[in-house]
């Protein structure tokens, strides 16, 4: 017992925890712990009502520590820290214990084991909290400047919106011209706007603004420093090096269209093209549908090429989202050009979600024929006597084989992550299983990465159409603005600390610290190490280096970890 007054909340998560863990048993066991003076089970600990209960309890019982046993700390640490603060408790005297992702959901067949484990984890949380101390967040300056990497529709829109907020922008584009993929596509769904026109409108805005600097044929090659004041280095195609100091980094590097291999649905045969190639063809010949000088009377579209793959190990299991709408839209464009052209759509599912359903209806009304194929028997595309033959088993005709002899086969290719290794390396960007950049959480922390001050927007994060890319880019702008415009940010105070009485100044921590965050200071007669809280990143590389155990991380001290270990193995009573 340490004499602390700790409250514990055990969350049922509406059954997500209590279906697999006996939450009342956990509460009763933890109530026996010496320092625990309050314990409750809540159906949803994060709900307003439950938070109010906890706040009342903290005030009435004058709690000096609180432990919430619930979901992953990734989800609700901020929620409960704010709750502690509202109750007048220091937010760093709150501990979240993960009994959902790392207990109830992982041991669904072992209720007894999961309950025992929850008790042990809760005890470790109490042990850690008993040794916690009030901490104050470190305040550092943030520069009202950002670098936006990629000048596609997402990057251009982000640059203009940041400039509107008063953040100066360095907009860095690898290609010789800005605009990204959208500039290639001609007429776009849903409003028939022309891609080039959209890009030009934004480019005019960019050029009008003094606080946006556009760099073409340029890449970001290095990053160091901290959130609010990063040092980044740009390199131009001629090798010129440009150093910049920026507060945040917005990555808008987009996607690549999937490139089918030769022979995949007949790709490589005369008359078999991808959707991007077809879009470019239409943009180049807006008056008449011809291919290599030949009139096109019949078109067959094969959907889901390079998307929703089910082969074991395929990284492209996702739906590319834009393509059903883009293809239905292009069918209406072709129809407008020449209503006598026959159009066959060989699809798996039509995913013209939301208002894009209207495009599908319009294509149907224009005479487009939709044939549903199953994933097990995909269509075949072959060449016979100089012409193309497409065979498909139509699921809506009980699997009957339908044969089409089109002039043109359009492979509706999906989106794939763009190869961008040097940038990933320079920024240490997190990459997901699908190869796109990974945000911290799709709902709770979209556009944010685990790297503070580095945001990912547009199709670099995953397949998106223009409206979705722009929405995500504006979300990134809102996050960047919120971070930079205050002029400062309060950093986590969980950094390293030296216990001067134990320190013998052997220099080992200085050698271990990659950030130069340890100074040598005089203390009375001796010299000891001292941590610079702004430079320290709180990763703790110095901790194992110190032979005297004089240096440790706040929140992860030797005493805290040891007492957590003891609590975990303590015999169940």
């Amino acid at each position: 017992m340490t004499g602390r007054k700790i409250g514990v909340v055990v969350c049922e998560c509406g059954g997500n925890i209590s279906d697999y863990v006996d939450t009342e048993k956990v509460r009763a066991a933890i109530a026996q712990e010496g320092d625990v003076v309050s314990s409750h089970v809540q159906m949803f600990a994060c709900s307003d009502a439950a938070q109010q209960d906890a706040i009342r309890e903290i005030r009435e019982k004058k709690l000096d520590g609180i432990v919430v046993c619930s979901c992953s700390p990734k989800l609700h640490t901020a929620t409960f820290r704010a709750m502690a603060e509202r109750a007048g408790l220091n937010p760093y005297e709150y501990t979240q214990v993960n009994i959902r992702e790392q207990d109830s959901w992982a041991h669904t067949h072992d209720r007894e084991g999961a309950t025992e484990k929850a008790i042990e984890l809760a005890r470790a949380g109490v042990a850690k909290t008993a040794l916690s101390e009030p901490l104050v967040r470190r305040r550092v300056e943030t520069l009202p400047q950002a670098v936006v990497v990629g000048a596609g529709i997402a990057g251009l829109r982000a640059a203009v919106a940041l400039s509107d907020l008063g953040v100066s922008v360095h907009l860095v584009e690898k290609a010789t011209a800005p605009g990204g993929q959208v500039a290639r596509w001609g007429s776009l769904f849903p409003n028939d706007k022309v891609g080039r026109g959209l890009v030009d409108e934004l480019l005019n805005e960019v050029r009008r603004r003094e606080n946006i600097q556009l760099y073409l044929s340029t890449e970001l090659v290095e990053k160091s420093g901290r959130l609010g004041a990063f040092d980044v280095t740009l390199r131009t195609a001629t090798g010129a090096v440009i150093p910049l100091k920026v507060g945040a980094i917005v990555v808008a590097t987009g996607f690549d269209p999937y490139a089918p291999s030769t022979g995949e649905f007949g790709y490589g045969l005369d008359g078999v093209v991808t959707l991007p190639e077809f879009k470019e063809l239409l943009a180049a010949h807006p008056a008449r549908l011809t291919y290599r000088g030949r009139d096109v009377r019949t078109v067959a579209y094969v959907y889901c090429v390079g998307s929703r793959e089910t082969a074991p190990g395929s990284p492209r299991t996702y739906c590319s989202r834009y393509c059903c709408s883009a293809t239905s839209h292009i069918a209406t464009v072709v129809n407008g050009l020449d209503p006598s052209v026959h159009q066959f759509h060989l699809f798996r599912d039509i995913r013209t979600y939301g208002k894009y359903e209207a495009l599908y209806e319009k294509a149907l009304r224009g005479g487009s024929v939709y044939l549903r194929y199953s994933e097990e028997s995909p269509p075949t595309v072959t060449e016979e006597n100089g012409g193309l033959v497409v065979k498909v088993r139509d699921q809506l005709l009980a699997g009957e084989e339908v044969e089409i002899r089109p002039d043109l086969v359009v492979l509706v290719t999906g989106m794939v992550p763009r190869a961008n290794d040097p940038l990933v390396h320079a920024l240490k960007l997190p990459v997901g299983q699908d190869g796109f950049f990974r945000e911290v959480h799709v709902k709770l922390r979209p556009v944010e990465t685990v790297l503070d001050g580095v945001f990912i927007v547009g199709a670099s994060q995953g397949p998106k159409n223009v409206a979705e890319s722009v929405a995500s880019s504006l979300a990134g702008v809102a996050k960047t603005g919120a971070l930079l415009l205050k002029g400062y940010v309060d950093l986590d105070p969980l950094v390293a600390r030296v216990e001067p009485n134990l320190c013998a100044w052997c220099d080992e921590c200085t050698k271990a610290c990659p950030y130069g965050a340890i100074d040598r200071v005089r203390q009375g007669e001796t010299e000891v190490a001292e941590v610079n809280g702004v430079l320290c990143k709180g990763e703790g590389a110095c901790v194992p280096a110190c032979p005297k155990e004089a240096i440790s991380l706040l929140g992860y001290s030797n005493a805290q970890i040891s007492s957590m270990i003891d609590a975990l193995v303590k015999e169940a009573t």
Binding site: E101, D110, K428, P514, Y556
Partner: protein, 150 residues
């Protein structure tokens, strides 16, 4: 009634040190995907595997854990480009400490667990708990006392 800390059904006790930003997410994902692993596996998250004190590992084994697994960030670590080498050094030091104390160094293991490495994590846990089950209990720990009493 006092029951031994190791319930038979939960398998050997494994302490996992995960990292807040990356490997803990991979472990979370294993749970979110309902990939079951033995409930004797318990996690203490820390900021970075390079900051693990080898003495914590010795302490854990002496206190009653059968093994310690460091779920490292590997080359993905956002703090340190040489995190792999540093974490390797922590493991070497911990193994040396175990050896000096007459304990089997194979009780410590490490592997990089990325933020989506749910399946690799579970397979590491299955293999590690299996290997640990084959080792004799550490003298003086609760599981050894329980085994002696049985």
């Amino acid at each position: 009634m006092t029951a031994p800390a190791t319930s038979v059904g939960r398998g050997p006790r494994v302490l996992v040190f995960s990292t807040n930003a990356i490997s803990d997410m991979g472990i979370d994902l294993a749970g979110s995907s309902h990939l079951d692993y033995p409930s004797g596996v318990e996690v203490i998250p820390v900021p970075c595997s390079s900051g693990i004190n080898p003495r914590w590992i010795l302490h854990a084994i002496r206190a009653g854990f059968d093994g310690v697994f460091i779920a490292a960030d590997g080359p993905e670590c956002s703090y340190l480009s040489d995190c792999v080498a540093r974490t390797g050094h922590v493991v070497d030091q911990a193994q040396e400490l175990l050896r000096q104390n007459g304990l089997d160094p194979s009780r410590v293991k490490t592997s990089a667990i990325c933020s989506v490495c749910s399946e690799p994590f579970v397979s590491h846990m299955r293999q590690f708990t299996k290997a640990l089950a084959g080792l004799a209990s550490v003298p003086g720990t609760p599981s050894a006392v329980a085994a002696g009493a049985a």
